[in-house]
Amino acid sequence: MSKKMVCFCQDLTDADIVRAIKEGYDHLETLKRFTGAFMGPCQGKMCAANVVKLYAETTGHPVEDLRIPTMRPPVEPISLGSLAPEKGGDDDA
């Protein structure tokens, strides 16, 4: 099969995805965990459509039935510091 990049953050080709599905990681959630697709710095924003389409073609599940693995909040990356603005240093828990 051709080698087309489908997930840019994690350097995954279509062949990588299909191989993982054939090895038994055939649920979107396990596929994500096994290949790392959806888990790069963009959190799947660039690759979700590619991967889901390829998954549907390979497994025969219609795309409409698929739930894309949870986009773990936050949607836009924010820094740890801005989440804990009160103060820093040696404060107590």
């Binding site: 649920h27 959630e29 396990t30 965990r33 096994f34 888990m39 710095p41 959190q43 773990r72 909040p73 936050p74 990356p77 924010i78 820094s79 740890l80 510091g81 989440l83 804990a84 009160e86 820093g88 240093g89 040696d90 404060d91 828990a93």
Partner: protein
Amino acid sequence: MPRPKHYDIVIIGGGVQGLSLAYNLALRETGKIAVFDKSYIGSGASGRNGEMIRSAFGSEEWIRLFDTSLRLWETLSAELDFNVMFTRCGYLVLASTPEDLAACRTNCKRQNAMGLKTRMLNAGEVAELIPSLNPQATVGGVFQKEGGVARHDAVVWAYARAARRLGVEIFPYTEIVAVNVDTAKITGVRTIRENVLTGIVVNAAGAFAGQVAEMAGVKLLLDVYRLEMIVTEPLKPFLQVALSSPHFLAYMHQTARGEFAGGAEPQNLSPYLGLKNTRHAVQDMARKFGSLFPGLRGAKLMRQWAGIVAKSPDRGPLLGAVDGLEGFFLNAGWGGYGFMGSPAGGRLMAELITDGQVPDALYPFNPDRFATGQAIVEPTIIGAAEDKG
């Protein structure tokens, strides 16, 4: 009507404990074994944890059980023929106050007396080990060089694959809805699809172990609670060891990809048990991690999630047969320690089930211990909201 399926042993729960047990039972050629999970394998706490591994606890009972596990971790990838990415990067329990330090010292003495090679570090030695750590956050700690981390999903898959190779049948997306009992004896289970016959059921249902026990008419002393974690964007290496802080109720490490992964518990746990994160917990983690590692404050948060676990009154797991119900076994209540405990949990429970004899390391964790006044006192575990990796 086709005849119902029959298995010699049915395991409810395809988490790391249920799968390790299935593999170890199959190694001992105990007949036909099936594992049922209501979702995908590893969908429970086993695919959501902090991945931290140690045996440096404070009581003889915990040290013996978890050191049995640690020794199995060392050769697990080879044994299962699957890289579980166990890294012996070392595990430091950080002391932030003189009281913490005194506790570390007492625990270290007991650990050494039992043959563990843990050692006390002073503040300077901690700073040398982790230069990025806020020097004001520590007065020392106890270090276990043999501790470390492994990849949670890989461990789940490794056990599942090895178990399948040995003939175990694994059924994901197959919830158990009833446990069938006849005159104080297990006779089978009912899945969402069909009845299955078996004389032995092992309850390895993680946070749902209480519900599964109730299906068999057994009431367990288990409380369910949730733990939350965050992961940052990949960062330059700055934390080479697995680190936990009793003071902050926090645990953390840096993954092979450079992400900082950590979890912490707020002082007041909310009663909410869903899998969405709470703002309260995320802010609490951000504050604690930022104060331990000032350099982390600029790091971007990438993912966050929660998982639920069950704990017993003394926070030790419930391991063994249930008195009064023949064929019903528990491998449950692992709280925040069931990942590191999985190699030993499965190995020793398989011994108990097949030989009918309770291995020494398991005996203290027998499910009857609360009724017989033999609850375990594990000093590294304190208060209400402290189960940490």
